[in-house]
């Protein structure tokens, strides 16, 4: 997917066009606040035209300006939404191109027929060869191939897909680069991952999230309250003997109802999804993004998230009577042909610490003994020496066969390393244990600080690992997580999630394997790795296209940012009303009660300019806040109290003060140009 989503001219023009299309009341109805503004715009326009027809020229200019600005208010709100949608649409178009007519090689028994991909159904088996596009989502049932998934992930390096295991899922629209695979189709056309993705980024099937619904109810409630306040003003005014014109009442109402947040609400939601998408995370629903903001517990897999994938040798502990150099030499020899990351790290450590250079095994006439499931050891035979390395129990067994035992010092070293969270690897030569290599899980740099941040945000981190409790505890302490689950199985994971949920927490986790699926489905925010199985992707409610488990942290931040932006703009919108009252109410009645001019604290020039300034400010503030709505309120990983204080100051107090200044400025401009 294209990572570029800047503002280009075409997108801008498209959004302008869309803002007019969205004036259709059947569409606008979904946004009650803006719908009310549109109705008022129609009413005001009607009165303006009626008066123009009857020749009451005096009020036409003024009413006409109000009508104009009411229409502008609706258009600005539509524009904000269209702009947010436009970014997604651009991405959707790019995706749609990859979906272009693909020919599938469907296998029926031994024969194969070429049909259009759109005719494929769940359960069909297709053959995909080098150069072919994969015609639909599915599982590899036979073969292994390298696949270019850049259309989906934006990652240009090909990935390996093979039958069985956790790398069997393929996505329609990606391309096989080499070899061939047989794929069993798992989704009907129109329901594929690509289809869903297009739907999501376009916001076509966007449903309101629970919080958005609650907020819409609040905004609707406020709108009704202000509708009542303004509608009843007319009877009071008639009682007082100064009826107010309908356009002026319409202007007051539009200024009071929460148009700022009402106009930007859906743009904020779409932009939130978009921000996730820019980080290559695909949320299956807005609900999931919102839940991410509420998450109280993060379950993090140790490997890959907290630690670098592999253990590294960090220390040689020789047995008594063995010099460190001797031991390092034996350890290095046993690992020279060992291509596992652990083996490589032993060679590197030997070089760094004892300056032992790599040697060529074949020139030494050595014979490499590879790791076998039976002996669970690997090693080397050379010049009569027999060096083996392995876990403590396998070496013990190996020595036992020769009638020897491990020395208590070596056993002690093994135990010490295990206690510290490391993995001890014993190296033996002949019938003697030479010492222990300390293999350590290396915690990722900066992760501890990250967890501290999360703690300040009130989020608990739990490390999930298959290690024994001793090892797990040591790594947990080093990484600074709050808790850990050792010797984890899919069942214990599931129980842990349910346990946290029953205590009222929302739980987020990542997973990729089929055995993660139940836990992913149970968790409130389940992020499946794109490299994972189809089952995992189906079970989760987000997919990380980069397959980077650390991204869970960013997802949480985006969720929080989304809610904060909504809250801040709501507060701002309501706080704005104070100034608008001070602009409009004195303007309405100053002619009858000149004493009311003390309420005109902004000293606005005339009643007309006061009303117009308020309406214009109300429209302009929407467009001024579009960048903020799309970008989101600035997020800092701090505790709730600090965030609250900061946002209250900016959006609460700022919301009260800003319109006083804005309306005054507009009034100065209006009077300077004699527009009212």
């Amino acid at each position: 997917m294209s990572k570029k989503s800047g503002l280009d001219k075409a997108m801008f023009l498209e959004a302008v066009k869309e803002s007019f299309v969205k004036l259709d009341p059947r569409v606008l109805w979904k946004n009650p606040v803006m719908f009310v503004v549109e109705v008022l715009a129609v009413v005001t326009t009607y009165f303006t035209l009626r008066d123009a027809g009857s020749g009451a020229i005096k009020s036409v200019g003024f009413d006409g300006q109000i009508a104009f600005w009411l229409w502008i208010t609706v258009l600005f709100a539509n524009f904000a939404e269209a702009l947010a949608e436009g970014r997604g649409k651009a991405q959707a178009d790019a995706l749609r191109k990859t979906r272009s007519e693909t020919i599938a090689k469907k296998l029926v028994g031994e024969t194969r027929e070429e049909i259009s991909a759109s005719l494929l159904r769940k359960g069909d088996i297709v053959l995909v060869e080098a150069g072919d596009f994969i015609p639909g989502d599915g599982e590899v049932v036979e073969g292994v191939a390298s696949v270019d998934e850049s259309a989906i992930t934006g990652e240009s390096a090909p990935v390996i897909r093979e039958s069985g295991g956790d790398r069997s899922a393929v996505t329609g629209g990606t391309r096989v680069l080499s070899d061939w695979i047989k794929v069993q189709i798992t989704a009907n056309p129109g329901e594929t991952f690509l289809d869903r993705m297009i739907g999501l980024v376009e916001g076509a099937k966007r449903q309101k999230t629970p919080n958005e619904i609650a907020l819409t109810i609040l905004l609707l409630g406020l709108t009704i309250i202000f509708l009542l306040a303004v509608a009843t003003l007319e009877p009071y005014a008639i009682y007082t003997g100064v009826p107010v014109s309908i356009p002026v009442l319409a202007a007051l109402l539009v200024c009071l109802i929460p148009t700022t947040i009402g106009g930007l609400l859906s743009a904020i939601g779409i932009a939130g999804m978009d921000r996730l998408l820019k980080r290559n995370v695909l949320a299956m629903s807005g609900r999931a993004v919102e839940a991410a903001g509420d998450v109280g517990v993060l379950l993090l897999d140790k490997t890959g998230t907290i630690t670098l994938g592999n253990r590294m040798a960090t220390e040689f502990v020789p047995a008594p009577g063995v010099t460190p150099e001797e031991f390092a030499d034996a350890a290095q020899l046993s690992s020279l042909a060992d291509e596992t990351p652990e083996g490589r790290s032993i060679v590197i450590l030997a070089k760094e610490k004892y300056n032992l250079r790599e040697r060529d095994l074949s020139s030494l006439g050595a014979h490499f003994v590879p790791f076998s499931a039976h002996t669970r050891m690997s090693g080397v035979d050379l010049q009569g020496r027999e060096i083996r390395k392995g876990a403590m129990d396998s070496i013990q067994k190996y020595l036992g066969e020769k009638g020897k035992d491990m020395s208590p010092e070596v056993l002690k070293a093994v135990e010490d390393i295990a206690k510290k969270g490391g993995t001890p690897l014993v190296v033996a030569e002949g019938d003697r244990a030479l010492g222990v290599v300390y293999l350590k899980d290396v915690v990722k740099g900066g992760i501890k600080e990250r967890f501290a941040q999360l703690r300040r945000m009130g989020i608990k981190t739990v490390m999930i690992t298959g290690d024994n409790p001793l090892t797990a505890a040591a790594i947990a302490a080093e990484a600074g997580v709050d808790d850990f689950l050792a010797e984890a199985t899919p069942e214990t994971k599931l129980t842990l999630i349910r346990d946290y949920q029953s205590k009222g927490n929302l739980v987020a986790m990542t997973g990729d394997g089929t055995n993660d699926a139940p836990a992913l489905a149970q968790s409130d925010v389940g992020v499946a790795m794109n490299s994972g199985t189809q089952a995992a992707k189906e079970a989760g409610n987000m997919v990380d296209l980069d397959s980077n488990p650390t991204k869970l942290l960013e997802i949480v931040e985006i969720g929080k940012q989304l809610l904060m932006t909504r809250g801040s703009l709501t507060t701002f919108s309501i706080a704005n009303d104070v100034a608008k009252y001070f602009a409009i109410i004195p303007a309405m009645f100053m002619v009858t009660y000149p004493e009311l001019k003390v309420l005109n604290i902004m000293r606005l020039a005339t009643p007309q300019s006061a009303i117009l300034s308020a309406v214009i400010f109300n429209a302009l503030i929407i467009i001024a806040l579009v960048p903020l709505a799309l970008r989101g309120v600035k997020y800092r990983p701090l505790g709730a109290n600090i965030i609250l204080r900061r946002n209250l100051l900016i959006y609460g107090l700022g919301g009260i003060v800003a319109p006083f200044i804005g309306i005054k400025l507009i009034d100065l401009i209006l009077s300077a140009f004699h527009l009212s």
Partner: protein, 568 residues
């Protein structure tokens, strides 16, 4: 003089809080069914009531059952009170031989007393028999206050129970709060008041010869017993027309202090009760704090406006400018302003001065307190549950800003709660605005006005605010005993009462079902001074934004005109 006034107000507040704190703890025990020192007396009585009425006290109701029981109880109350009023001519304890009243007034009065409003469109001493006052009004003074407490308790249960269906038993809440809170306090209060000279008699009215020669009828009655619950239950329906300005109801400055304490004692105590019941006294304190901020603001406005008074009177040079019109000399400006603030902060509505005569801004504060929905401590129970509605709104608006779905006491606030909270705020506001707007353009409405211009508008606004908020005090200039006013206000009182109670019980029901999220550093904190300030700010902004246009054309412009030398 002014220092003396401020000292008296400060003294009042200190005593109030000192008494309310232990009362709050005691009420929490009563409402949670814990042991108290009154068990020996009230326990058997309670059991007897349950047996006689066929109530199973162990039954736990869901919110629909609870609301159903409450509505049935209150509608029955209205019907029986209406019949009692219509038949009073045939009933005992009627020495003055007072007959049935007009049906619209009877209906208005029945709704008024059952809804805890005690709006009186009549002069009690010339309309109501002793029997109607005792068996009708006094009974409902207890029942309506107990209903308020029951709703508040049900709401608290909803906020604290974990994944539960039930929110308590209405009959048990009603009985326990009557027998163990209202009754003992009223007994004590009646004794204290009669020590000051409040009368308690069933004898006929006295005709006495005055020093000047002509004879005068002195209305009497069993006042003290009704006076205490009138205040403790924030009912406010006076035994006499002059209410607490009448020397038989409120004879001395000390009785005046007692009466003001009685009015606010339970509402203030309930904020602390809330803290105990949610197992976090800070939550109670924060609500107390928010209400106190609003109370002090309103008191300052009323007192400031009254002491500054009317420049037109000041110019005449007889007295100072301070507004003494409509005030009793034995109470003065300070204690009248304090009483007016206290009685409209709660939904009491008893008065010791005529609110119609307050300066325009001095009258705005009482009116605004009612428009805010009686949340400045508010009516017994009603104040707490209305304020909790605003807590929910505040938490929702402000809580979003910390980046989480808003939670209160660990419970998520979602669409349903929002809908109900918005209804609970919208319904009373709509009653006030629509009612007064209708009255201001109908001859049936405006013909009852005593004053033209902005003051007339204030009279109408005040009447509907008082009815909708179930306060019951009045700008007495309005002649309210007409078909239009009796019926429209009866409707507004009914809707204003149950249009808030039902949404809140629904919130209690849906909150009870939810899980409780544990508190973390990411949780929006609803304790501490900042939240008190936010809560009072939201109450004020929502109320002010709703009513600013109306108030601008009523009291605000009237005050400005008064300063400019024009009175109405």
């Amino acid at each position: 003089m002014k220092i003396n006034d401020l000292a008296q107000m400060g003294f009042y507040l200190v005593i109030l809080v000192v008494l309310a704190i232990p009362l709050g703890r005691y009420m929490a025990k009563v409402l949670q069914g814990e042991k108290t020192f009154l068990d020996k007396v009230m326990g058997p009585l309670e059991k007897l009531i349950y047996r006689v009425c066929g109530i199973n006290p162990e039954e736990d109701m869901n919110w629909r059952q609870y609301a159903g029981a409450l509505i049935v109880f209150n509608i029955l109350g209205i019907v029986t009170l209406f019949i009692l009023e219509m038949l009073q001519g045939h009933l005992p304890f009627n020495p003055e031989k007072l007959g049935a009243m007009r049906w619209d007034l009877a209906l208005n009065t029945a709704v008024s007393f059952v809804t805890n409003t005690n709006w009186q469109a009549y002069s009690p001493e010339s309309t109501m028999s002793y029997f109607t006052q005792m068996a009708g009004f006094t009974v409902h003074n207890f029942a309506s206050a107990a209903t308020g407490i029951a709703v508040a308790v049900a709401l608290i249960r909803g906020l604290t129970r974990r994944q539960a269906q039930a929110i308590g038993n209405f009959w048990v809440d009603l009985t326990r709060s009557t027998l163990r809170i209202l009754l003992p306090l009223s007994l004590l209060g009646a004794l204290l008041l009669s020590s000051q000279g409040v009368i308690q008699t069933l004898s006929p009215y006295l005709t006495v010869h005055t020093l000047q020669g002509p004879s005068q009828t002195l209305a009497l009655g069993p006042v003290a017993s009704q006076e205490a619950i009138k205040l403790f239950g924030t009912n406010g329906g006076g035994f006499f027309n002059a209410n607490s300005a009448h020397p038989f109801e409120n004879p001395t400055p000390f009785s005046n202090l007692l009466e003001m304490l009685f009015i606010l004692l339970i509402p203030v105590g309930l904020t602390f009760t809330f803290g105990h019941m949610v197992k976090d006294v800070r939550q109670g304190r924060v609500i107390f704090g928010a209400a106190l901020i609003l109370f002090i603001l309103m008191l300052a406005l009323t007192y400031g406006s009254e002491i500054a008074g009317n420049p037109l009177i000041g110019k005449i040079g007889i007295t100072g400018a301070s507004a003494m019109e409509g005030k009793e000399v034995r109470f003065g400006v300070a204690n009248s302003a304090l009483f007016a603030t206290v009685t409209t902060a709660t939904s009491c509505g008893a008065v010791n001065a005529m609110h119609d005569s307050l300066t325009p801004l001095g009258g705005l504060a009482p009116m605004l307190q009612m428009m805010l929905g009686e949340v400045v401590f508010g009516g017994v129970g009603a104040g707490l549950y209305s304020l909790l509605t605003f807590v929910i709104l505040t938490v929702f608006i402000v809580g979003l800003m910390v980046g989480r779905t808003p939670e209160y006491l660990g419970k998520k606030i979602e669409g349903f709660e929002m809908k109900m909270a918005v209804l609970a705020v919208l319904i009373p506001s709509a009653c006030i605005l629509l009612g007064s707007a209708l009255a201001s353009i109908l001859p049936a409405g405006t013909s009852s006005l005593a004053n033209p211009g902005p003051h007339g508008l204030s009279e109408m606004l005040y009447a509907f605010a008082s009815g909708s908020a179930n306060n019951g005090s009045a700008f007495a200039g309005l002649n309210a005993n007409t078909y239009f006013w009796n019926l429209s206000l009866a409707l507004v009182m009914f809707v204003g009462r149950f249009g808030v109670i039902l949404p809140l019980l629904a919130i209690a029901g849906s909150m009870a079902k939810k899980k409780i999220a544990p508190v973390s550093a990411g949780t929006f904190q609803t304790t501490g001074g900042l939240f008190s300030g936010l809560l009072s700010g939201v109450v004020l902004i929502v109320g002010a934004l709703t009513f600013f246009p109306a108030l601008a054309l009523g009291p605000i412009v009237e005050q400005l005109l008064m300063w400019a030398g024009k009175a109405f």
